[in-house]
Symmetry: C2
């Protein structure tokens, strides 16, 4: 507790003042402010000034942490996926097959206010990504991971007999992923306050479709 090490603050024998703010942590705070602004005012309203003010700072205060606006946005967008992926990991922990798949989808679907706000952030991200190969890559990498995870669950579910549909796992995974993405749009465009879009029922209905007679004509 007392006597904190000073080693990291000694440079060429000269004692220096330690950093006061944790830069990584500050970056996350700024990302949070950025999310709030985008969710509330859209990408158009997300100016450096607005974001700084939302985070409680003046105009130029973001510079030392994000040299340009694009850096900030890219980081902010990436972290939507980071956060979602972390929640997915928590929620699918120890599960497999249909149970894991259900948990995965329920975590991605915009079923509460928080995730509807994330949908309001991911859509501006997609819009940027349409004409920005690097951002599109961030999206693509996450989607590839998701597709692989979904296929893994499907195969496990087949092995245990929960999935019997005579449709290839690759095709099913693509369907399901597109359903998840489409749900984001429906939720993000709905008037503020709506939270029930029947997405959970759609998921259950879809999973039910997978468990019919094997190879049935």
């Amino acid at each position: 507790m007392a006597h904190k090490s000073r080693d990291q603050n000694i440079f060429r024998g000269v004692a220096t003042v330690p950093k006061i703010v944790d830069h990584d942590e500050r970056r996350l705070e700024l990302v949070d402010a950025t999310w709030r602004i985008i969710a509330r005012q859209g990408l158009e309203g997300a100016t450096m000034r607005e974001i700084a003010m939302e985070a409680g700072f003046a105009n130029g205060a973001l510079k030392p942490y994000f040299p340009t606006k694009d850096t900030l946005l890219e980081f902010a967008f990436s972290h939507v996926f980071n956060r979602t992926n972390q929640r997915i990991a928590e929620v699918t922990e120890g599960k497999s097959g249909l149970a894991a798949l259900r948990a995965f989808c329920l975590e991605v679907l915009p079923l509460d206010e928080e995730r509807i706000n994330e949908a309001r952030i991911v859509i501006p991200f997609w819009q940027r990504a349409v004409n920005d190969a690097q951002k599109a890559g961030v999206h693509q990498r996450s989607m590839d991971e998701w597709l692989a995870a979904i296929r893994r669950c499907l195969q496990e579910a087949r092995d245990s007999g929960d999935v019997t549909a005579a449709v290839d796992n690759h095709v099913l995974a693509g369907q399901l992923l597109n359903m998840l993405l489409g749900a984001q749009i429906e939720a993000a465009l709905a008037p503020e306050g709506r939270t029930d879009f029947g997405h959970a029922a759609q998921l259950e209905g879809y999973l039910a479709l997978l468990g019919k007679i094997p190879g049935g004509k």
Copy 2:
């Protein structure tokens, strides 16, 4: 052919010069230029100057046809739906049930360069609509129509025995619509040139899932 009527050019007994350009037609040309710019440079690159230049005019030339940029964008966005809906009408003409549903989806899915470009336009539109209730309304009205059309097809397909799944039509329609929307995202974010995303196979797979044993548990 000769002697074109002058009636519409007489105002209070004074002969006036007839309008030279068809304003409605010009508006459509401008919308077309707007689409091209958005597809190529994104919404950020869609400035009034760029759009005017793309249409072959100088800076202020759009004013008489669209008083503000927002007017132009709203009109341009609406026409994406108009065009799609018109194609849908042509393609489903005379069909019903599963055949109509298939034709409907094949027309909405981004299966060729033209419709992938439309996906690149609809995503910026969605982004705007997230924080613009009026634009969100344009989207919502089309989606409500589409949902109704899909449910109608599903019911017809049930009546003829092509659909036997023990899942409510409302739920199925929601699933399918979200799949169609999600496909737009995948196509729009893919690197230029890719055109095959397996969406047609996904559609066939989905329709196959609907035709299994009725109510089978």
